[in-house]
């Protein structure tokens, strides 16, 4: 009968709306794009590792300084792209972010992780390193890490992007990006990044490069679309 059909329709609608509300946040939209530069970047200088023979012997050609790493098509590597406004803070994941000292280099050169997420620092070399991050908002500490000692476990409680260095090996430089939410990426050799799982809303996307500074753009996500966002940095010849 008519009433029965209407009642069933009503119940179906209520059920549908309950399902829409009850589960985890739906997949949402994506912000993705590429980071490139214009102008001429400085030439990266080769590193002289002769003072550390145990690392120098691992390389057949000299390694280059990593303050500006570029790829074909003027793409820029090691750019941290993250949501700086518009998303709520996320709880830290339980997996650790790993920073490796290998061949007297930092791998990765830029490590992005979250506030209060465990940072695990590993020494894979035959030589001692000291790990000396240089934050201004977070606490500055400096620890020695001889070869064969267990990984160092630390965390940071404030969002900040800051350098890391080894005092014993002055060419070793890296960066930590401690971020508030889980929407971040670090560009690789294609210069591309993808920030998925963004609920509808108005966001500020920020791209940070250690030599060229940072830039932000406003992006609005309305559903599950993919919004293209590109960043172009001005390269400096020095």
């Amino acid at each position: 009968m008519e009433t029965k059909q209407v009642v069933l329709a009503g119940i179906a609608m209520l059920a549908a709306s309950a399902v829409a509300m009850a589960g985890p946040t739906p997949a949402g939209g994506t912000i993705s794009g590429k980071v490139t530069y214009e102008g001429t970047p400085a030439k990266m200088k080769p590193i002289d590792m002769s003072k550390e023979p145990s690392c120098a012997k691992m390389y057949t050609t000299p390694q280059l300084n990593e303050t500006v790493v570029t790829g074909p098509g003027n793409t820029l590597e090691n750019v941290v792209v993250f949501i700086s406004a518009g998303a709520p803070d996320d709880a830290a994941p339980s997996t650790a972010a790993v920073f490796n000292q290998k061949g007297c280099r930092y791998i990765p050169h830029v490590l992005a992780f979250q506030v209060n997420q465990e940072l695990k620092i590993v020494n894979s070399d035959q030589t001692s390193h000291n790990i000396h991050p240089l934050p201004k908002l977070n606490r500055e500490w400096n620890k020695s890490q001889p070869p064969g000692t267990p990984p160092i476990s630390e965390k940071y409680d404030k969002a900040e992007i800051f350098p890391v260095k080894c005092n014993v090996h002055p060419w070793m430089h890296g960066n930590f990006a401690v971020l508030k939410n889980s929407h971040y990426a670090v560009t690789g050799d294609g210069g591309t990044f993808t920030l998925p799982n963004l609920p509808p809303g108005k966001y500020t996307v920020t791209a940070w490069h250690e030599s060229y500074g940072d830039q932000s753009q406003e992006v609005t996500i309305t559903g599950s679309e993919t919004k293209p966002v590109n960043f172009v940095f001005k390269a400096k010849p020095y």
């Binding site: 009433t3 209407v6 406004a85 001889p146």
Partner: protein
């Protein structure tokens, strides 16, 4: 009539239930940055210092180097090396507390008492104990860290074990294994392979301690002071903390060995080392070379 109304009611209820999931995401809360406190106390032994009383002393004796804002940018600062301590950043070298943590009030008090050898910071024994305690309290009004953090737990220093030749030799092995020589040099003269490239946390050039110079290292001249230096690290400098990688017993062996590097300073450790043929030969050879490359002045 009744059916249509019922349908409309169902639609209305359904739409009301769906509504919350499309509200805009909340913007991040920006918590206001903590501010330093204008009223601080210090507790050093039986003394309690008050920052209000310390203020007058600071603006008479300290601000010429440390600056009116306590940030180390006083009028004299451009002419002195090393630079005066920046109390706003609140990162201190001489502490009993682990790396990355604030020092105890007594650490700051002792630094005031000793001064810093080979720098422009004099010893403030000219002031009385209460004045020094008041100054420690006032220093704490420059940084919000004293409001948001507590000082670290001071490290436990076990009683010094008996001094033996084996302890000294084992300390020597540790000096090699921990690669102290990379900065301090094989003879501790501050001329290791990495010494010339060292910079502090403000990117200012800095030299490692020269053990052959003077035993009054900046953080004190007792064996306990030496123990603390490498077990807490000198924050703000290239000198790291070895607390995670050196056991307390081994740490004492290293202290005994380091004393034998200070060949210009008579000590029980040096005397014992010189009484062995091996030690005597090493120390006499050093006296002939007499290079001066690290921090500190060669007598």
């Amino acid at each position: 009539m009744r059916n249509t109304q019922f349908v409309r009611f169902c639609l209305f209820v359904a739409s009301v239930l769906i509504l919350p999931s499309v509200l805009p995401a909340q913007l991040n809360d920006q918590a206001p940055a903590a501010k330093p406190s204008k009223h601080m106390e210090s507790h050093v032994g039986d003394l309690t210092g008050h920052s209000e009383a310390g203020a007058q002393l600071y603006y008479r004796y300290c601000w010429g180097c440390h600056g009116a804002r306590g940030d180390g940018n006083g009028e004299n600062a451009p002419y002195i090396n090393p630079q005066p301590r920046n109390f706003v950043a609140a990162i201190f070298k001489c502490r009993s507390t682990p790396t990355g943590t604030l020092p105890l009030d007594s650490d700051l008090y002792n630094s005031l008492m000793r001064g810093f050898n080979f720098t422009n910071m004099p010893s403030w024994i000219a002031l009385n104990a209460q004045d020094r305690a008041n100054l420690v309290a006032f220093i704490k009004t420059f940084s919000a860290r004293w409001v948001t953090e507590k000082p670290g737990d001071p490290i436990q220093i076990p009683a010094e074990p008996k001094l033996t030749v084996d302890s000294i030799k084992h300390g020597g092995e540790l000096f090699q294994k921990l690669e102290c020589w990379k900065c301090h040099g094989q003879e501790g003269r501050g001329d290791g392979p990495s010494a010339s490239t060292l910079t502090d946390s403000n990117d200012q050039p800095i030299r490692p301690y020269n053990f052959t110079s003077d035993n009054r290292s900046k953080c004190g001249k007792t064996n306990q002071d030496l123990y603390r230096i490498f077990m807490t690290g000198l924050d703000g400098t290239p000198m790291p903390s070895f607390a995670d990688v050196v056991k307390p017993g081994d740490a004492w062996d290293l202290v005994h060995y380091l004393r034998t590097l200070q060949y210009n300073n008579p000590s029980p450790e040096l005397a014992l080392w010189m009484s062995t043929p091996e030690g005597k030969a090493i120390v006499e050879a050093k006296k002939v070379e007499n290079t001066n490359t690290g921090s500190g002045v060669q007598p």
